[in-house]
Symmetry: C2
DNA sequence: TATTTTATTGAACAGTTGTAAAATAAGATT
DNA sequence: AATCTTATTTTACAACTGTTCAATAAAATA
């Protein structure tokens, strides 16, 4: 299967457009392979040549979005150290802006009964960001693994709450919430 | 549908035993309704009279386990205040012992591609525990919602990492990890 | 015990799933 | 432009899904 073959690009794009269209009508878990192929005007066998299930198409979207998140942190002047509260500037935390940008998408990721795979993809990405930003603190040995998962998933907890508030707060609001919570520990 | 009808109790027990048996052979997501009914010696129509999908049976287990977790915190002498590090006694954190007790079960909950529903059931339970244990701190207004989700999901992060280490650490080890992480913020 | 209630069964149905093989056609390669 | 490569289609198949209905049998109730 050649990723650059025009035929592949065409069918994948058809499937992508079809999924986006169907997602406006019904939740991801209710979309059947047959239905998706009918909408995309491709044969069901072709679908199974590229994917295993409908969720795999969603994962493909997700990977692109993860790249976008990663890139927003590759700008060298941006630094977010969740442990160093004193030097934490709300403007430097790009995660919430990223989530807001893809709000409709993340409403699916955090919805009930969807695969946990999507949750863990974001978790792992945020965890990587924590590791890269805290590369000065290496002295905690084995505790590091737990510290990073603790910190990353705490952020995820804020996003869960944000989702449950239907993303009404702005991204900057969320940064302020984070700062305030971290400052509680200093008092 | 009468929950106390002997016929209902009998069929539900058959289904429960069948699911436990099948879970030893294959992941939850691979178990078909037909397969489960064959194993339980009940009619497929009977299954659909009680459940919608295989995962619903798992949820039924889960609810019992959530009751067990809740009860382990109802003993009034136990208090866990995740914000008050100074007064936090490792022995009082019962969550990790609970997880260890149902380790095999939680290996499914935290596995990839399973429904997020199970994750959120545990999250909500831990969040409730945080709220009850921190009922002295009400001064933060709207921030409370975010603070509780932050704290609860941070604990979930430790459990994720524990899962990824195949639950090799003991429950007491986990309590120590938690204490150490919380103490980092004081330094 | 006799009667009523209702959970369970069995059968049938259209639709979906996942897989496989040969035929076709679109695109890549020379 | 001619040939090679392979993605796509077509068709077929057995198994599973989700639902419905009448018949049955198990349990509750009086």
């Amino acid at each position: 299967m050649n990723k650059n073959d025009l035929r592949v690009l065409k069918t994948k794009q058809s499937i992508h457009l079809a999924l986006i269209k169907l997602l406006k009508k019904k939740p991801l878990t209710h979309i059947k392979v047959t239905e998706l192929c009918r909408e995309a005007n491709i044969n069901r066998g072709t679908f199974y040549f590229h994917y295993q299930e409908v969720g795999d198409v969603f994962k493909e979207f997700y990977e692109e979005i993860m790249v976008d998140l990663k890139e927003s942190y590759q700008a060298p002047y941006l630094h977010t150290n969740f442990l160093d509260v004193a030097n934490l500037d709300p403007k430097t935390v790009r995660i919430f802006h990223h989530i807001k940008k893809y709000e409709d998408f993340y409403k699916i990721v955090f919805s009930q009964d969807v695969s946990t795979h999507y949750y863990f993809m974001l978790f792992d990405e945020i965890r990587s960001i924590c590791i890269e930003d805290q590369n000065t603190l290496q002295q905690y040995g084995e505790l590091n693994d737990y510290l990073y998962s603790y910190s990353a998933n705490a952020i995820m907890g804020l996003i869960i709450e944000w989702y449950r508030h239907d993303f009404k707060d702005s991204a900057d609001d969320m940064n302020v919430h984070l700062i305030n919570i971290l400052k509680l520990r200093e008092a």
